[in-house]
């Protein structure tokens, strides 16, 4: 009897495998409200007003009020205009506050005709006039004052090096209603997203020089988050205690000139002992590591707005969790945050992609749907447009996702939105895990470094099937722990998880009781471990073209599903997709060029942007990707040849 039952269930599994599991769009719908022709909404600020209308600030210096924003016929009214590239909007005491490039401005409609009549300068801060000196905010602090952040400028000769030519650049500061301002925190490069969560200030930064990847930081007063530009203005009156001298005693600025006297742009150095941000923190406690790293290319490339789900369930099951926008991949990520040993840390997942342009700002509608203000501001983004205003709404169906991921003394506990299938949960072949981090160096961005596969010792699934304890070897403090739950299925329906990968930033390992091995399931249906980048396989595809050609009829190219983990891990998906042109050419288009696998390998290690002149962004060299992985991807690409 039992055997027949098992056979029957396996057959059902096999049968269902042919279908597709529900995806993001089956639960969260993107709605594009009609906007009259001619209005350009490169949204820099979004704010829902108490009466439900949506205030929008744009790059063109306009503030639009959208009345009945969730109806089929929203009405747009121009409230204010002529402002200097607004990148944030807030509402307080009956007035709108906006952040222009150089000023925090209060907009007041004195005579109540629906149009602003007073543009009051609360505080005008210095800018040097460099194009990159954007200012973001304001966000209203619990004490009623305003937080504002400022981007760095770049050098004239050293165009790659962020610098603070004037005070406030590369920092977060507080503006008071009487018009004075005070420094709050330093170390920012491109602080495009500010958020107040539970009374505390958080911000996102973008990958660049000194920022190995984007992420979200908690900003206590006096915090330093990694980029040294703003340290030039820190003095004894500043709440920031880290000094320039202290920073450069620990880090090499790599300002090197060549033989003709010109500066050389610092690039990533292979095979070095890397510096990491947490090492600076261990010496200087005011240094902050991110609450969550948002791995570059996987969870965004240009992180923006932070918003907490305060809809009490109207937006789905992720109550009180945090959503973060991305301007380059035009999507939203999700973060679950907890406090361990008094510091914030947490887990990050993809949430919803497919917006028409870069996600810059978000705010809740009164009905619990989410307004998304979009612009790529000239940097290129996934999607068809350079700007937009869209709305994301939950359709009331329960998505099958990891709900939470908490750190445990011996691993993690994942909570699911629906009960999971016990058999797949108790099979260790359903999982893989690794951990990695990023360098803290003056080069632009960092490849993932120090990656280690983590041995999964065992799992324990709760009786209701919704909480899964995963016990691992090799937890490392401060490291990003990547858990792939590819094999997990929903109980009864056997759906895959919509987002099967979670990235947990383990700033602290909690104390407490470890799970006894008696309670752990340790069985695995796999014969060998899945392919991992830390292993160098000696014999794979031969680089010899002849061999490949003669074997081509027998060799089967990997499918997209088979290489997708590699494409994700190595951030190929940041710029390429299979059939569609994104930031780079599609794999189908690359296949048309008829490169051999070896030629693709060489081009990944040393790209030739001149081969693709109509693409604005040159491909970055990727010499750190293991040869075996590249050749597998190349094989997949060439399998796309018609």
């Amino acid at each position: 009897m039992k055997n027949i039952k098992i056979l029957f269930l396996s057959l059902i599994c096999l049968a269902v495998q042919g279908q597709e599991s529900p995806k993001e769009e089956d639960f969260y719908r993107i709605i594009t409200p009609p906007i009259p022709e001619g209005i350009i909404l490169e949204v820099g600020g979004l704010c829902t007003l108490p009466n439900g209308s949506l205030a929008m600030a744009t790059r063109r210096g306009e503030i639009w009020i959208m009345e009945n924003p969730t109806s089929r016929n929203p009405y747009l009214r121009l409230f204010a205009s002529g402002l200097h590239e607004v990148l944030g909007l807030a509402y307080k005491d009956g007035a709108l506050f906006c952040t222009q490039r150089g000023e925090l401005t209060k907009l007041i409609d004195e005579n109540e005709d629906g149009i602003a009549d007073t543009y009051e300068t609360i505080n005008a801060w210095p800018v040097s006039g460099h194009y990159h000196e954007y200012s973001f905010g304001p966000k209203i602090a619990p004490d009623g004052n305003f937080f504002v952040s400022g981007n760095v400028a770049f050098g004239s000769e050293e165009w790659w090096r962020g610098e603070a030519r004037v005070p406030t650049r590369g920092s977060v500061f507080k503006v008071f209603p009487d018009g004075h301002r005070e420094e709050w925190a330093a170390g920012m490069r491109s602080p495009a997203g500010l958020g107040i969560i539970d009374g505390e200030l958080f911000y996102t930064d973008n990958q660049g020089d000194w920022m190995g990847s984007g992420g979200m930081w908690h900003l206590k007063e006096g915090a330093f988050t990694g980029h040294p530009a703003s340290l030039a203005w820190v003095d004894e009156n500043s709440p920031v205690t880290l000094t320039e001298e202290q920073f450069y005693a620990e880090r090499d600025n790599r300002k090197v000139r060549n033989a003709t006297g010109s500066y050389i742009k610092p690039e990533n150095v292979q095979d070095q002992t890397p510096d990491m941000l947490w090492q600076l923190k261990e010496k200087y406690p005011s240094v902050q590591t991110p609450v969550v790293w948002l791995p570059h290319g996987i969870l965004g490339i240009s992180n923006s707005e932070i918003i907490k789900d305060e809809t009490k369930g109207a937006f789905g099951p992720f109550v009180d969790q945090i959503f973060i926008g991305d301007q380059g991949q035009s999507k939203i990520m999700r973060v679950f945050m907890e406090k361990i040993n008094g510091e914030y840390q947490g887990a990050a997942w993809d949430f919803r992609s497919g917006f028409q342009s870069g996600v810059m700002r978000m705010d809740w509608a009164k009905d619990g749907s989410l307004f998304v203000g979009e612009t790529n501001r000239g940097w290129g983004s996934a999607g068809d447009a350079n700007q937009g205003l869209q709305r994301l709404a939950w359709n009331g169906q329960m998505p099958f996702e990891m709900l939470k991921c908490k750190a445990m003394p011996d691993g993690f506990e994942v909570e699911f939105t629906l009960p999971i299938d016990r058999k797949s949960a108790e099979d260790l072949a359903s999982y893989s895990a690794s951990s990695f981090l990023y360098k803290h160096h003056p080069a632009y961005g960092s490849p993932p470094i120090n990656r280690e596969d983590l041995n999964i010792k065992g799992v324990n699934l709760s009786a209701d099937g919704k909480r899964l304890r995963i016990v691992l070897d090799g937890l490392r403090k401060y490291y990003i722990h990547e858990l792939n739950l590819d094999g997990i299925r929903a109980a009864g329906r056997y759906y895959s998880l919509i987002h099967p990968t979670v990235y947990y930033t383990l700033n602290n390992i909690p104390d407490g009781e470890k799970m006894s091995s008696a309670n752990l399931k340790t069985g695995s249906s796999a014969k060998a471990k899945p392919l991992s980048p830390t292993r160098t396989t000696k014999k794979l595809d031969t680089p010899d073209r002849k061999n490949t050609a003669t074997k081509s009829t027998k060799k089967v190219a990997p499918t997209y599903a088979q290489v997708k983990p590699l494409l994700q891990r190595h951030t190929c998906l940041a710029c390429h997709s299979e059939g569609k042109k994104v930031i780079g050419p599609s794999f189908v288009d690359i296949a048309k060029r008829k490169y051999s696998d070896t030629e693709i390998l060489n081009l990944v290690y040393k790209p030739k942007p001149e081969n693709w002149p109509s693409y604005a962004t040159p491909m970055a060299a990727m010499p750190h990707i293991p040869k075996a992985d590249v050749l597998k991807i190349a094989s997949y690409i060439n399998g796309l040849r018609l």
Partner: protein, 603 residues
């Protein structure tokens, strides 16, 4: 007022080439004027409020038509002894109030000069218009035809010096004397604004010398409809053969960018000859470095102006001498350089190296020289494929304001103010206000702003005025003393407060300085005058308000001052407590503060 001596005048003469000459306003020997109403003077002043008024002082340098309004006729014209064909003429002129004059090219095609100050929709008969033709046989009201209105009304107030440039191409005739191409106005610019471009003239305009058209004709100035003054009249004849290129050859290297390589010592991949100047000999559009050499035939001794379009690093040398040094430019950035050459063959060398795939290659080479107009030396295909960006223009059909960075040049140095607001009006008069100082930076007439630098692609945060600009001194407006005016707001307690809008969307700027609240509003009065009102919240008789700081300020009558040799007027109430103060080599116009001060800028 000032007497320009002959010596003084000579020191202002620029270097002329063979074909360019100034019609010296020293004497009228080159002209005929039966009526005797045209005179040479040292300076001219016209009161903008008195019809037909013009006053002169003795001297040389200024050509004045001092004709009493009311009598008409040919004898009041000023006609040149010489004749001209293709011609460029530029001059400064000053209209008296309500005056009417004109410049006739070849004595036959009139460009109108009129006091059109403040006219909203200019017609063919307004300043800078190409006057209409006349057919007496047509019914009343329909006799005039084929006049061309200027694109904009660029007129300044009467009594101010204005600047006009006319570029004229004469009609062409065959051997039998039949006209084979029309006379053409290639361009007319008034006060830096383009009024006409490539306008063909079907025939002579009303009041021409006869109805026939000619290859050469005299230059003629109308003198019977009111007073006006001219100075700095410069003409350029274009009747000489043009320069040319031949024996062009190229050498090219196809390499990727290598910062360690010596740019002048790269192994050559390919060489060859080409019949025309172009970049199209190249086998690929990026990662290359080439040198083109050839012979440049200069038809005459003189100054040659070269204009180059090239993508990325490029230079131009003639006979080994650098005319345009090695610089990195975009495909739409033109550069111009000049060199004196003797007639004959010269070696031309063009270099270009490019490693940026996003730029397409381009090569444009233009030359202008003694007696010939600017001409293209490159082949047609050489500059295709570089589309200029679609401009993003901001117009002020209703009162429109825009904050941006604003660039300007002062004392030869480029500066950028970062808290600036530009205010545009449907009267086509606009200004920029510096919120960091409470100062008026500039005013201009024309269209409002070009915001392409700010809103295209990543942008640089700045916008540019579209029109003819007058710069002010961008200085702190209010001070505690008459002397020692500060250069910035340090120590003044300056605090910007923003601005409030009136019903018509016009801002009143608000700030604090020296412990007082100030409001500052600038509006357009009577469609043509800037009216500025500065209010101080409390009685502060010790404060001074600076209306202008300039190289030269002169009093025309009580309450009326001309600034920088009649570049603009400032008008205050006649009984205002005005002080004209000398501060080093500058003059300052200062009024002691009262609760409300109003003054006008006539521009």
């Amino acid at each position: 007022m000032r007497k320009l001596t002959l010596l003084g005048l000579l020191s202002f003469i620029p270097i002329f080439t063979f074909a360019q000459r100034k019609i010296l306003s020293e004497n009228l020997n080159q002209f005929k004027n039966k009526g005797g109403n045209w005179i040479i003077a040292g300076d001219a002043t016209a009161n903008p409020f008195k019809d037909y008024d013009i006053q002169t002082t003795p001297g040389t340098g200024v050509l004045v038509n001092d004709h009493e309004h009311g009598t008409y006729g040919d004898k009041y014209e000023l006609v040149s002894e010489f004749e001209h064909g293709d011609l460029d003429i530029s001059f400064d002129f000053m209209m008296a109030k309500k005056s009417n004059s004109g410049v006739y090219m070849q004595g036959r095609y009139e460009i109108q000069l009129l006091d059109s100050w403040g006219k909203k929709n200019p017609m063919h008969g307004d300043c800078g218009g190409i006057y209409h033709r006349w057919d007496e046989s047509k019914p009343e009201g329909k006799k005039g035809y084929d006049g061309h209105a200027p694109r904009v009304n660029a007129s300044k107030a009467p009594g101010l010096w204005q600047h006009m440039e006319i570029s004229f191409k004469a009609p062409r005739f065959d051997d039998k004397g039949n006209k084979i191409s029309n006379a053409t106005i290639l361009a007319i610019k008034l006060n830096d604004m383009l009024l006409h471009e490539n306008v063909e003239l079907s025939g002579v305009t009303r009041g021409a010398y006869g109805s026939g058209e000619v290859a050469m004709g005299p230059l003629r100035f109308q003198g019977d409809h009111g007073a006006l003054a001219f100075k700095n009249i410069v003409i350029n004849n274009f009747d000489k053969p043009a320069a040319s290129l031949e024996n062009l050859s190229y050498s090219v290297s196809y390499i990727s960018y290598d910062p360690a390589a010596d740019p002048y010592n790269i192994p050559v991949d390919e060489t060859g000859q080409m019949p025309e100047l172009t970049w199209e000999f190249m086998k690929r559009p990026n990662n290359y470095s080439y040198n083109i050499e050839g012979d440049f035939n200069a038809p005459a001794d003189g100054k040659y102006d070269f204009t180059v379009f090239s993508s990325a690093n490029n230079f131009l040398k003639i006979d080994g001498e650098t005319v345009l040094s090695n610089k990195y430019t975009g495909p739409n950035d033109r550069r111009t350089g000049s060199i004196e050459l003797k007639a004959g063959k010269h070696k031309v060398e063009l270099y270009n190296a490019k490693y940026d795939a996003w730029m397409s290659p381009t090569l444009g080479l233009y030359v202008a020289g003694p007696g010939f107009r600017k001409k293209a030396l490159h082949s047609q295909g050489s500059m295709l494929g570089n589309k200029p960006t679609d401009p993003i223009l901001v117009n002020a059909k209703t009162n429109t304001n825009l904050r941006s960075f604003m660039d300007f040049e002062k004392d030869g140095k480029k500066q950028r103010i970062v808290h600036a607001i530009s205010v545009g009006t449907p009267e086509n008069l606009h200004f920029t206000y510096d919120l960091d100082r409470g100062a008026l930076l500039q005013i201009w007439r024309g269209d409002f702003l070009d915001a392409t630098p700010m809103w295209n692609s990543r942008g640089d945060g700045s916008s540019k005025p579209r029109g003819s600009i007058t710069l002010f001194d961008n200085d702190v407006t209010i001070n505690t003393s008459l002397t020692s005016w500060p250069t910035d707001t340090l120590g003044t307690g300056f605090r910007p407060r923003g601005y409030s809008m009136d019903e018509a969307n016009r801002p009143t700027f608000l700030y604090e300085i020296h412990g007082s609240k100030i409001s500052d509003k600038i509006i357009i009065k009577e469609d043509k005058t800037f009216e500025r009102t500065i209010s101080i919240e409390s009685e502060r008789p010790e404060l001074a308000i600076k209306l202008s700081e300039a190289n030269q300020i002169e009093k025309i009558q009580d309450g009326l001052y001309a600034v920088n040799n009649k570049d603009y007027f400032i008008k205050v109430n006649a009984n205002e407590n005005v002080q004209l103060v000398t501060n080093g080599d500058k003059k300052q116009l200062i009024v002691m503060a009262k609760k409300k001060l109003t003054y006008d800028i006539l521009f």
